[in-house]
């Protein structure tokens, strides 16, 4: 029965995505409907994850599809931290369509089923930390995407720039950097746990990409702090980095 929760999740996230897309033409009148879609979907997905955790013997999100399921939940959780504030709700423009797609992909790959094979707890901690880190990078990329969008509107003198109010450029830049830092800490911890507790036989493709992601985001923060690279250039770095994030999950499970 719990598998049936997938559809309320997809509908709720999809509704939020549609409302936020519609808000591009509106004035924030319906964004509350959007945030309620996020909340309802998040609660349903939390229930699904709990049901999966209960039914599995160990870590149930070890497959690529299961990982997508957990990743989308982490991304939406990260969004909810900011998304409840009225001015930040439209960050959902970038987050919710992605979350809805990830859930559908997870469902198609069997990642939302209850009879998922369980893995050991060392792998659970490792995968949980890695996924949380990747979710943080995804949220950072969503902020960066909005930054580029808002920057372009201001540069092009979009007359509607004050009718559809997004967070200020400075706030988006700061939050993107903060989410990146959090993601880097989580990813570092995940890599450390993997190296310490799991059997590592050489450097496979997934590990290479994971290390590459770590290097890219660490470099992004270093150039931000040391060379003062902020704003649009920092946002573009984060958007490039998220391409690696999207590549790492399929690599983990198909190339291993």
């Amino acid at each position: 029965m719990a598998e049936l929760l997938v559809w309320p999740i997809v509908i709720a996230y999809g509704e939020a995505a549609l409302v936020y897309a519609g808000e591009l033409r509106g004035h924030g009148r319906y964004d509350r409907l959007g945030i309620w879609g996020v909340r309802v979907g998040w609660l349903a997905q939390t229930a699904l994850l709990l049901a999966q955790a209960r039914s599995a013997d160990g870590f149930p999100w070890g497959t690529w599809a299961g990982a997508l399921n957990l990743l989308s939940w982490l991304v939406v959780t990260g969004y909810l931290v900011w998304g409840c504030r009225p001015r930040y709700r439209l960050v959902g423009l970038a987050v919710m369509p992605l979350a809805a797609c990830l859930v559908v992909l997870a469902w198609a790959g069997g990642g939302t089923a209850l009879d998922a094979r369980g893995d050991g707890w060392a792998l659970a901690v490792h995968a949980g930390l890695m996924l949380a880190g990747l979710a943080s990078f995804t949220v950072a990329a969503a902020m960066a995407g909005l930054y580029v969008f808002e920057d372009r509107r201001l540069k092009r003198h979009d007359a509607a720039v004050l009718r559809l109010r997004l967070p200020s450029l400075e706030a988006l830049d700061r939050l993107a950097a903060r989410a990146t830092l959090v993601g880097l800490v989580l990813l570092s911890a995940g890599i450390a746990v993997g190296l310490a507790w799991l059997d590592v036989n050489g450097l496979d493709a997934a590990m290479t990409v994971a290390v590459l992601i770590w290097v890219v985001y660490a470099l992004a923060l270093v150039v931000r702090w040391e060379a003062g690279v902020r704003g649009r250039r920092f946002a573009r770095l984060l958007l490039a980095g998220v391409l690696l994030v999207l590549a790492v999950l399929p690599l983990t499970h198909f190339a291993a």
Binding site: R29, L154, L169, G231
Partner: protein, 418 residues
């Protein structure tokens, strides 16, 4: 009770007519007191006077209260009364209340949704001499005004060039507290924009002008320091917002002079607002990363779009105002049956007390208390539904008929007459 309104506003009366009847808050207080206690048909009065309108709201039992309001307005105009009469409007009862609600919501303002009017309505109410009717009407008007601003975006967007410039700065920066502003030119346009930015927490750092004396005067007024135009590149290194409005015939902030300074900021944002015609700032500077350049045309486009937004939001605000006006109508209609309800309850209580008195001496003290409570509960329960039904009927055309039927059935008219 009748509600009457007589007034003039920017819709029909030019400024020279409006200023003849304009009064300050103390004047409004004195006038309201005089109208309410002057022995005329009005028992309640509130005078609302702003730069766009002067309106007298009166309430009284007599139908002559409308005429009284009209006469009071013309008297206020004094010798200018003949010019005022054609521009004045008179409204009564629900129409007057609806007008008040629209005024409080900013729907009758020159710029839809402007923020000051709600405070002005509140001040007028507090300075006035309201009673039950005007008190209720003004409280509901204030509620309608608050709802219109909270539930719609009618007042959120800037409606002037200086306000749009400040709102754009807030779109770039995370709040304007301690943001450094550089003014180029010491004219009135620069000053009003600077004041708007300062009211949101920004600091006016430098006022640069060709004439240093004028720059010094404005800098002193705004709390900054004066500088010559030649010192601008250095001043821009740390600036967050630049407002330029000189009367120079050519470009003041050239690409050659400023591009190296802006590039050295490495994308750190800066908003340059060019309010001059011809333009002060080389448009190519807007292409540099982190530099957001708005000229007068771009700002006017933003203001036009936000005003358009306000007009579309006004449709939603009108719905809120209609809801509140309907609530006021229902409340006012319920007043018509209040005397009948009061008589009915008094009649029932009289019977209950009389019957209870007949038991005096036949019941112990404890037993009497029980019977007292019991009979009171029975009377209340019996009268609850008729009271509710009467109040419901009051808002329909049958309200007064119901009240008459109740009076007839319970013989209340004989008691009232006795």
């Amino acid at each position: 009770m009748r509600l009457a309104l007589a007034g003039v506003s920017h819709h029909r009366a030019p400024l020279d007519v409006r200023e003849r009847v304009a009064v300050d808050l103390e004047g409004a207080r004195a006038l309201a007191r005089a109208l309410a206690a002057g022995g005329g048909p009005a028992h309640e009065a509130v005078v609302l006077s702003t730069c766009n309108r002067t309106e007298l709201y009166l309430a009284g039992d007599d139908a002559g209260v409308a005429e009284h309001a009209d006469r009071a307005l013309l008297a206020l105009a004094g010798p200018g009364a003949p010019a005022l009469a054609p521009a004045a409007y008179r409204l009564a009862d629900e129409s007057a209340a609806l007008h008040l609600f629209r005024v409080a919501a900013g729907l009758d303002s020159m710029v839809p949704g402007e923020g000051e009017i709600l405070g002005q309505v509140r001040d007028a109410f507090e300075a006035g001499s309201p009673g039950p009717l005007l008190g209720r009407a003004f409280r509901m008007a204030l509620r309608a005004g608050r709802r219109a601003r909270v539930e719609t975006a009618i007042g959120e967007s800037p409606a002037s060039i200086p306000a749009a410039a400040a709102a754009l700065a807030e779109q770039v920066f995370d709040g304007l507290e301690r943001r450094r502003v550089v003014l180029v030119g010491a004219g009135r346009t620069s000053e009003s924009t600077a004041r708007n930015l300062r009211s949101r927490g920004a600091t006016i750092e430098v006022v640069a002008n060709r004439t240093l004396d004028r720059a010094a005067r404005l800098a002193e007024a705004l709390g900054g320091r004066a500088a010559a135009l030649e010192a601008l590149p250095a001043a821009l290194e740390d600036a967050d917002v630049v407002v330029s409005s000189t009367s120079s015939a050519g470009v003041v902030l050239t690409h050659d002079a400023l591009a190296p300074v802006l590039r050295a900021r490495r994308g750190r944002p800066i908003l340059i607002v060019d309010l001059a015609v011809p333009r002060d700032v080389d448009p190519s500077l807007g292409e540099i990363d982190g530099c957001f350049l708005y000229d007068l045309d771009a700002l006017e486009g933003v203001v036009a779009a936000t005003l358009e937004g306000r007009r579309s939001e006004a449709v939603h605000a009108e719905r809120i105002v209609s809801e509140e006006a309907e609530r006021f109508r229902v409340w006012r209609a319920s007043l018509a049956v209040v005397p009948a309800i009061a008589s009915l309850r008094a009649h029932a209580e009289e019977i209950r007390s009389a019957e209870l008195a007949r038991l005096d001496g036949r019941l112990a003290e404890g037993e009497r208390d029980v019977v007292d409570t019991l009979t009171a509960q029975i009377v209340n329960k019996l009268l609850h539904l008729p009271t509710v039904r009467l109040k419901e009927a009051a808002v329909t055309a049958d309200g007064l008929l119901y009240a008459d039927v109740v009076r007839h059935l319970f013989g209340l008219e004989e008691e009232d007459g006795a």
